[in-house]
Amino acid sequence: MSLFRHIRKLNALQNVRQLSSAGLKSSTLQYATDPQPQFTDAETQQLLQSMTQLQLDKVFRKRTVPDNSVHTQFMTTAQLEKEFLQTIEKAQQLLQMPPVVKIKEDTERIISKDPALKDFATTKYVFTDITFGLPQSERKVVVRDVDGTLSYATLDITKRMNQLYFPLDGRKFYTPRMFSDEQLFQRCLDEHKYEFILDRLTVQYEPYEAEFHNISAKVFEHLNESKQFDQLRSTRHFGPMAFFYAWHRCIDDLLYDMIRRDYLLNAVQLIALSYKIHKVPLDYQATLRQLEELQPSPAVKALAELRSGLRQHQAKGIENEIQTAIGKTETDFQADEISLRFIEQYIGSEHALKKVQLELAVQTLKELNLEKQQLYEGLKKAHGVQQQAS
């Protein structure tokens, strides 16, 4: 009877182990080579940041955290100006992209073998350097094994020890069931909780872990199918997502979304990024430079938005009013023309996969733009007399 029980216990143990080790199935798309040099490149970073955009409402949305008090204060215009600049800086900090690095392999590094110490204890001993202020990667963790070998700890143990002595806010010692259970993870995806999953992922795992790559790849793949890119826009995960698509040559859905939402500059940047990563011999830099001259960077735009709340536009006159009514200025129309030319060139090339869909989107946007331009010019003409009079 007791033997029977023992066997059952063993079986149960095995089941548990199987469950824990199974985790999530690996995704199909993975970085074959080290993506880090491409990702950290200054130009790539700039493209990604510009693509992410900076919507202040989204970045500083009300968070449900224990302390979300509001501070109200009277300020002079100069102080307010300073505060605006600080706000933009803070927003950019909040949009800091998680690093994209290759998976770190676990290597066994033995310091010394001391057979004399064999069986000194029945368990391993782990020694951790807990000096204050050391970065995590430089913290030394060594393990004395039962057979007397002294070696550097594996990544797993190192992470655990770091969490033990210097806990990271929000990280759990165990794998959250959301990440270990396939069904629960799929349910999260189906409910489109992309930002939540990715936020949690950044906290739970290090960027060089296999799970990090696996889960983020799965999320991006699912996102590419559900096409809800707008959820990640203006969050810290948009850059890595765009980079992922560009790397794996599946930018078409994202591109379609950008064109449909009239973010043509971003569309051009996305195409440029994919050209850059795959080293397509095409001069995109000239177009980009032209566009950058015509359109302000997201930070400048956000700053202007902040300032617009402060000043009255009455002084600016009727032309400004027309522009705000239509939503586009003359430079915008110019920039659109350049970017549309560039996008059409991309659609015509062999790199585009969903040509018909993209062409249709471009066509509708062109018609819309034409209408807007006609309206704009018509309004200007109608008000032109007034302008001269005043």
Binding site: V65, P66, K172, P176, L184
Partner: protein
Amino acid sequence: MLPLARGIYSNLLQITRNGRVAIHTASALRCKAATEESSVNEEEKEAEADSAPDGKDRTKVIPVETSIRYLKSDAYKTTYGEEHVWTQYRRNHKGMYAPRKTRKQCIRQGKISTGNPCPICRDEYLVLDYRNTELLQQFISPYSGQVLSYSKTGLCQKSHLRLTVAVEQARDCGLITYDVPFREYDYAEYYGKKEEQKK
């Protein structure tokens, strides 16, 4: 025929007496009347015993799926309307100020032992479980994201503990989303020292 029926009847009476002492006295009496007519068989008697349940009995386990369905039903809407389960609840207490803590538990020995049970205990179809997110959401503050205090919701201590456990489980499973703390990356740690030298 008659002695057999009487034998069954006495057996049944014993069972009811032993098992559900105080609850089913009324139904047992009704059973007696029925056997005098000697036209009722066993199953009908049992069905009759079930048809007059005690409102305070909480021994029956309600599955979560039922509770989830209940929260979407018309019956729920007519009872609570659009409001949360706990908004209409008022605590009974002596004097002006309520005691700091709510009562320890509303259900003792499978029965409601109080006249004013807490919002969860009074409705047996409200089951606290991590899958029952619609119910759990009612107890989470939309401002701070924390579980509301029992001084606000009036839950008994036992229900409150079960609530906090269920919310934590639901978060772990990703059924309830929350704002994850922001993690700031030190790029030098991942990209090596080159970045630092450039700066």
